[in-house]
């Protein structure tokens, strides 16, 4: 054990010295594992991957700011990309593979790896009628049976709340709060009680997580509400501080290649490229709620906590 540990230590020290691509990525872990393995197989370039939540990735980047380690960053919140761009941290790169990525999924310095959508995650074994729209969950049938991810912890939920505020739909949130819905931490913490049946539905569930759970045999269904929903593009960025820009660009190219986008589709995320098919509703099939005219982040969160506390 001790030799194994030392060997690992030496290998790591040596690995850090080589010019590999270092990628910091938000989940899902399986996706970034597949992408980096596929990239290495195709190009021969080694990768080092740090995978955590978007928040943990951002915290590590901020703590390392004096001496950045990462070359490529993939997060689950588009706002991280706009902030990094404002701070001048991003390397501008227009990948040739991004030609069929729609304009709203790219910006100077960032392009979407894939896109998640927001749904109602409903347990068909819960003994409740199948909901078809957000407002259904405020009905008496769902009294005390709904969970929400905390918009402070979940970028997707935040975008949905933002859209509700922008479109004058906060009465739905009021109805939910009055109906005993609970705010349950991050996305996974909101879904688990629904899987076991303690709750019937997640308001603002994440589509690919829900579909992934259903594919594993869990009794849960992802329902796209009739009044529309929001999407959360997952920005992929190259940091300006990289000493390894060519390999980093090659990685971005690979993720946006047909092979890379197929891996994205395999975990039930929507591919960024419009010419890639997937076994799920695609971004063009969804009715989207606009978020224009929403107040600042703090104000949106204040509105939300005013309703739920």
């Amino acid at each position: 054990m001790k030799t194994g540990f030392l060997a690992a230590l030496l290998a790591l020290a040596a690995g850090a010295a080589q010019a590999d691509v270092t990628i910091y990525s938000a989940g899902p872990g399986g996706l970034i594992k597949d992408l980096s393995a596929g990239f290495t197989a195709k190009t021969g370039i080694q990768t080092n991957v740090f995978q955590a939540t978007t928040g943990k990735v951002m915290a590590r980047l901020e703590a390392e700011a004096a001496n950045p380690v990462a070359d490529v960053v993939i997060s689950a919140a588009w706002g991280t990309a706009t902030q990094f761009a404002e701070e001048g941290l991003l390397l501008d790169y227009d990948s040739p593979n991004a030609a069929t990525v729609p304009d709203y999924l790219k910006m100077p310095g960032a392009v979407a790896q894939g896109v998640a959508g927001l749904v109602i995650a409903w347990n068909p074994a819960s003994g409740t009628p199948r909901p078809s729209d957000w407002a259904d969950l405020a009905k008496p049938e769902y009294k005390d049976l709904v969970t929400l991810p905390d918009p402070a912890a979940s970028g997707g939920t935040f975008t949905l709340v933002e859209a509700f505020v922008a479109n004058g739909m906060t009465d739905v949130l009021e109805g939910l709060a009055a109906n005993g819905a609970i705010v349950a931490g991050a996305n996974k913490a909101a879904l688990n009680p629904v899987l076991q049946g303690a709750k019937a539905a997640v308001f603002a569930g994440v589509d690919y997580i829900t579909m992934g759970a259903a594919a594993k045999g869990e009794t849960v269904e992802a329902i796209f509400p009739t009044s529309g929903t929001v999407v959360a593009p997952r920005p992929m960025m190259i940091l300006k501080s990289t000493e390894n820009a060519d390999d980093a660009k090659a990685f971005v190219d690979y993720v946006l290649s047909e092979e890379g986008q197929a891996m994205v589709a395999k975990v039930f995320l929507m591919p960024s490229r419009t010419d890639i098919t997937a076994d799920r509703p695609l971004i063009g099939d969804l009715k989207l709620l606009p978020t224009e005219g929403a107040p600042a982040r703090e104000a949106v969160l204040a509105t939300f906590s005013g309703l739920f506390n």
């Binding site: 270092t22 989940g27 931490g185």
Partner: protein, 569 residues
């Protein structure tokens, strides 16, 4: 600890003093310094000293702070009370009487250390919530109790009371029945003798262990995050974790709240020192002492039932719930036979070896941390208890500081300190950084254990050794160390257990591509594979319980063959 301690035994402490000072500066003070710096200079992460104090004042002026601080104190005090209620009677019974199955109860009380608190909280949720395992088996659920402030306190006490149990059963054993026998000769009843003699003599252990529980409670993240968030009960540590883990990141705010938390723990520590400094608790003199335990008589059955009840709450139910989740193919399928199988265990052994690699990493790191923290802790406690001079209070306080620093903040401090571009050589991005992080977080445990043991040790033994010609270091190695070895060993087992499952710091500071048990479990949960995560948790609990047990068994055999002074329980 009484005034006048600094007599004969203190000459040897000079070397130890410096080892301890250097060790603590490197392991504890350096990351702590960067936490203070980031609280004052919000842009220090990018190497800038701009806008000093602005953020500090904002965070301290936030009205939320009073609410978070109040909740933290409430939770700490409640948990300490419940833990004392659970542990003090059990420890006294275990130490002073012949309890049938004593070793079995010890083992069962050891297991809660091995269960990661977030896993324990999750297993309780899956057991008690509506349609949870309990309702599936009995038709009733206790969700209302679980998701409440008392529920949080009870759960945290169930996780932490073994600390009190182990420190106190050791303390009561040392106090023994000898002094209370004297009291009884003079006409005191058994209860009065216990309350007036045994209990007061055990004060150092009680104070040290309850302080440890308080500090562990206000620093613990998993339980309040899993249960408190749903009922709007936020504490400082969840506030801190949210600031570090939820974008946009607020490192200065997290650092400031950590300083508030550290202040709280230090206040409790000052209170403990004040309580102890008023009396002399030294009871181990030169005279050999027989540990004589009394029979329980008619009380045997109720006492055994009490031990069984507490250990099933603390150990059996959570472990069974973890096993149940590991055996279920899907969560929604529930505990039906058709939904159960060994699929997850097969997948763990099969999955390209990454689970086993993570297990190996954690065990190696846990063992390494136990050795480093155990030695540094013993030396520090010795320098503090038997040394003299102003450094003592400083060292003691510094060694306790990490106990009140949430793991995630230690991680941030360590990254800030060790990822500076001008460092020619840095452990950052190697597994050594985890060893540093774990040693920092867990150092308070061996220091507290050794401190409690040393406070009971008179100076005359060392003095006798020196009179007989032994040097100071030799006296420490041959006299003091063997006498405090059982306490150090207990604390090292605790360090091993906690280090091999630490999550919050590991997640942030782990070298790229390096997985530990907890990181592996977390990634499984993150991918929605609760069953896989629970399977790994179950295997890790079994392994981390068996390793220390094997070690204790070996040491017991050795001690029978004549290593003097070593009396493992």
């Amino acid at each position: 600890m009484a005034a006048g301690t600094a007599a004969a035994g203190s000459q040897g402490s000079r070397t130890f003093l410096w080892v301890s000072v250097l060790g603590l500066l490197l392991v504890v003070a350096l990351p702590a310094l960067f936490i203070v710096l980031v609280a004052i200079f919000p842009r220090i992460g990018s190497g800038s000293l701009a806008a000093p104090f602005v953020h500090l004042i904002d965070t301290l002026a936030d009205p939320d702070l009073a609410r978070l601080g109040g909740n933290t104190l409430l939770m700490g005090a409640g948990t300490v009370s419940v833990a004392a209620l659970l542990a003090v009677p059990l420890a006294a019974l275990r130490a002073l009487f012949r309890v049938p199955g004593a070793l079995l109860w010890d083992v069962l009380m050891l297991v809660p250390f091995m269960i990661p608190p977030y896993i324990a909280a999750l297993s309780w949720i899956m057991t008690l919530q509506p349609r949870g395992y309990m309702e599936q088996l009995t038709g009733v659920n206790l969700g209302w109790l679980l998701f409440s402030v008392p529920g949080i306190m009870i759960l945290m006490a169930l996780n932490t009371f073994p600390v009190v149990y182990f420190i106190l059963s050791r303390t009561f054993e040392t106090v023994g029945a000898r002094y209370s026998d004297v009291g009884r000769v003079f006409g005191a009843g058994p209860w009065r003798a216990f309350a007036r003699i045994t209990l007061p003599l055990a004060t150092p252990g009680i104070a040290a262990s309850l302080l440890l529980v308080f500090a562990m409670t206000i620093e613990e993240y998993g339980t309040p995050a899993a249960l408190g968030r749903r009922i709007g009960f936020e504490v400082l540590v969840t506030g801190i974790e949210n600031r570090v883990s939820e974008w946009p990141i607020d490192l200065p705010g997290a650092a400031t709240l950590s300083l508030v938390l550290v202040t709280m723990a230090l206040a409790a520590f000052v209170l403990q020192r004040w309580l102890l400094s008023r009396r002399d608790f030294r009871i181990i003199g030169g005279k050999p002492q027989m540990i004589v335990k009394r029979p329980l008589g008619g009380w045997t059955v109720p006492v055994v039932l009490l031990f069984a009840l507490v250990s099933s709450l603390a150990t059996l139910i959570p472990v069974l719930a973890i096993l149940a989740s590991a055996l279920c193919r899907t969560i929604s399928g529930g505990l039906r036979p058709a939904n159960m199988g060994l699929d997850n265990f097969a997948a763990l052994l099969d999955a390209g070896g990454s689970g086993l690699t993570a297990l190996g990493h954690s065990l190696a790191l846990g063992g390494g941390t136990a050795v480093v923290a155990g030695l540094l802790g013993a030396i520090t406690a010795y320098a503090v208890v038997k040394g003299r001079g102003r450094m003592r209070g400083f060292l003691d306080g510094l060694s306790l500081t990490p106990n009140a620093m949430p793991g995630v903040v230690v991680a941030v401090g360590i990254i800030l300190a060790w990822n500076q571009p001008w460092l020619p050589l840095s452990p950052y991005n190697t597994p050594l950084i985890l060893l540093l992080a774990y040693t920092c977080i867990l150092l308070p445990q061996p220091v507290r254990y050794a401190n409690a043991a040393l406070s009971q040790l008179g100076d005359n033994l060392e003095a006798a050794a020196q009179v007989s010609g032994a040097g100071a270091n030799r006296a420490f190695l041959r006299i003091v160390l063997p006498l405090i070895a059982p306490s150090i060993l207990t604390s090292m087992i605790l360090v091993f257990a906690v280090a091999s499952r630490e999550l919050v710091a590991s997640l942030l500071v782990a070298p790229i591509g390096f997985e530990t048990i907890a990181v592996y479990i977390w990634r499984q949960f993150d991918q929605g594979s609760v069953g896989m995560g629970m399977t790994m948790a179950f295997c890790a609990i079994v392994i981390t319980t068996l390793i220390p047990l094997a070690l204790i068994a070996v040491l017991r055999r050795l001690s029978r063959q004549g290593a003097p002074g070593l009396h493992p329980a």
